[in-house]
């Protein structure tokens, strides 16, 4: 089977006068956990609904396992957790999962009780939780049920829209672990979220949407490398200001021999300058994606304010 499980190509979706998604091109391949990042209204859910065939694109195309997502067979290897999870309130957990298993079973194969049991155990769903009508469940229990339903048929591709909503920290850890295991097993995951730290932890690549457009796409490590970062240096003696500038660093603050530098791109020239001068203190924190988030959305926020 081809490595690309989901291919969105030049995808646009218009609702009346509103262009919810504009020319989105995005692939999700085996072994990838792609974080689909963006604030509310960025177009993440629209992109997922188009990927599922729940909406018809205004322009562009979607290929799910090489087929149109409107074909039922294309969705057989798919697990989906919607952002606004709705479960039949009349059913209990057992009945809900059994119905889901029957809809996914290629024949009259019985549901994989072992897998369901293992998922329930890892996500902290007890027999009592599964025996209650869904309407009596807490939002956290419902979210766990939704996760089990998305995972129970061992899908090749998972589309998860805000999967950790309403979950406690321990269960979130279990979800991250499941995501890592899925990637290691050659599955693919599209993890939509507006929580940056989660994407930072769970994904190996990121696609960032803003106003319906893709503004950034790459691996997490690539994005980190491209980010503007801050470095704190205290020299023993006069700081080599000219050499630092020549190495690409921008001096943001200066307090005697103590400098706060802004650096971007390759670090080799700067490290060469530092190595040739005595340094008393050096702090160079690992950048997280929140710096990128501020960078990507800072403009949008400013536009919104103006």
């Amino acid at each position: 089977m081809a490595d690309t499980l989901l291919a969105l190509s030049g995808l646009s979706k218009r609702f009346g006068d509103v262009l919810a998604l504009d020319d989105l091109t995005l692939d999700v391949s085996r072994g990838e956990v792609v974080g689909l990042l963006g604030p509310n209204g960025a177009g993440k859910t629209t992109a997922i609904r188009l990927a599922l065939g729940l909406a018809v694109p205004t322009a562009g195309s979607v290929r799910l396992f090489g087929r149109s997502p409107r074909e039922a067979a294309a969705r057989a290897g798919l697990g989906y957790l919607p952002g606004e999870l709705a479960l039949d309130p009349r059913l209990d957990g057992h009945a809900m999962l059994a119905l889901n298993a029957r809809l996914h079973a290629p024949g009259d194969a019985p549901p994989d009780a072992t897998r369901v049991g293992e998922l329930c155990e890892r996500l902290g769903l007890s027999h009592a939780d599964l025996s209650r009508p869904v309407r009596d469940d807490s939002s956290g229990t419902r979210q766990k049920l939704g996760l089990v339903a998305a995972w129970q048929h061992d899908p090749e591709l998972l589309l998860l829209d805000e999967p950790t909503n309403a979950l406690d920290p321990l269960v979130r850890e279990a979800v991250f672990e499941l995501l890592r295991e899925a990637a290691a097993a050659g599955k693919a995951v599209l993890h939509s979220s507006h929580v940056l730290s989660e994407v930072d932890r769970s994904c190996n690549s990121v696609a960032v949407l803003r106003g319906g457009r893709l503004v950034e796409r790459g691996s997490v490590s690539e994005l980190r490398r491209r980010l503007t970062r801050h470095m704190l240096v205290r020299f023993r003696g006069a700081p080599p200001v000219a050499a630092l500038s020549a190495a690409g660093a921008v001096i943001l603050e200066r307090d005697g021999a103590r400098l706060v530098l802004q650096v971007a791109g390759a670090l080799d020239p700067l490290l060469a300058v530092l190595a040739s001068h005595p340094v008393d203190e050096l702090a160079f924190p690992e950048p997280d994606l929140s710096a990128a988030f501020a960078h990507w959305y800072g403009d949008a926020a400013r536009e919104a304010r103006s």
Binding site: V56, E71, A72, E84, P89
Partner: protein, 269 residues
């Protein structure tokens, strides 16, 4: 695969409404048995004639033909087109046929269609329920009528087959109502909206046919009403119902199902 999925979804609908469905089916059966017993209280049409003779002549003329309602021939058919039975049966069909709007309203439609469930199979599940209800509800009326007649001493002149044919007319009517409800459910954002649209179409249509039965001034528009094509009224009057009369209803049902499938196949959900 699609047929199997349709069956799974039909079972889902039936399980969801099983309590109400059992109650309605029992109610229809008991209702028809009760009608026969009420007719017996008036000794069939003859007993009712004595009551009518006491009314002013205008009313005597108006209800002359309706006296057959209280005969053994007419009492079963009366149950078939009684407003209460008709309302209950059409409501049950509408409950199932507007399932698309209900799932949409509860947010379940997207989750179902994200699974390997084709839109055709989804609607197929609803159509299966509609067909089942269209068959089983008239069957309960017919069964109740037959049981009731076996318990009383009213003379019967219309053969059982005529009642069965009248029942088939009701089946065709319920299929047509189901088609209209399915179409409304596919378009409507909520079940309440779909039911309102359906009621806005069916209530005037029923009144047109009902008034047309009493007043010839409605003849020009009676053909527009689906209720006009239900042949239980000829049965009531002792005439043979015509199977040809069912075709407009079956065509209406097929047209609505096709339009609903076309709309659903191309819509955003």
């Amino acid at each position: 695969m699609s047929a199997r999925v349709s069956l799974i979804l039909a079972r889902r609908w039936l399980a969801r409404h099983r309590g109400l469905l059992a109650l309605v089916l029992l109610g229809l059966f008991v209702f028809e048995v009760g009608l026969v017993h009420i007719a017996e209280q008036f000794d069939g049409g003859a007993g009712m004639q004595a009551v009518v003779d006491m009314l002013p002549s205008f009313f005597q003329q108006l209800v002359h033909d309706k006296l057959r309602d209280f005969s053994a021939d007419g009492v079963v058919s009366m149950g078939f087109n009684h407003p209460v039975a008709m309302t209950v049966m059409c409501s049950m069909v509408a409950l199932f046929a507007t399932g698309t709007a209900a799932d949409r309203e509860e947010g379940l439609l997207g989750a179902l269609l994200a699974r390997p469930v084709s839109r055709g199979a989804y609607l197929g599940g609803i159509v299966l329920c509609v067909v089942l209800l269209a068959l089983i509800q008239p069957a309960m009326l017919l069964g109740g009528g037959m049981l009731g007649l076996s318990m009383v001493s009213l003379d019967q002149t219309v053969p059982f087959e005529v009642h069965v044919e009248a029942g088939l007319g009701l089946v065709a009517l319920l299929l047509a109502v189901g088609g209209l409800a399915l179409l409304a459910g596919v378009y409507a954002p909520r079940r309440g909206v779909a039911v309102t649209w359906l009621a806005a179409a069916l209530v005037p249509a029923y009144l047109v046919e009902f008034l047309g039965f009493l007043w010839s001034g409605m003849d020009a528009v009676r053909w527009l009403s689906p209720f006009h094509y239900v042949p239980q009224l000829p049965a009531l009057l002792g005439q043979e119902p015509s199977a040809a009369g069912l075709w407009p209803l079956l065509l209406l049902a097929a047209l609505c199902w096709a339009l609903a499938a076309r709309r659903f196949a191309g819509s955003d959900e």
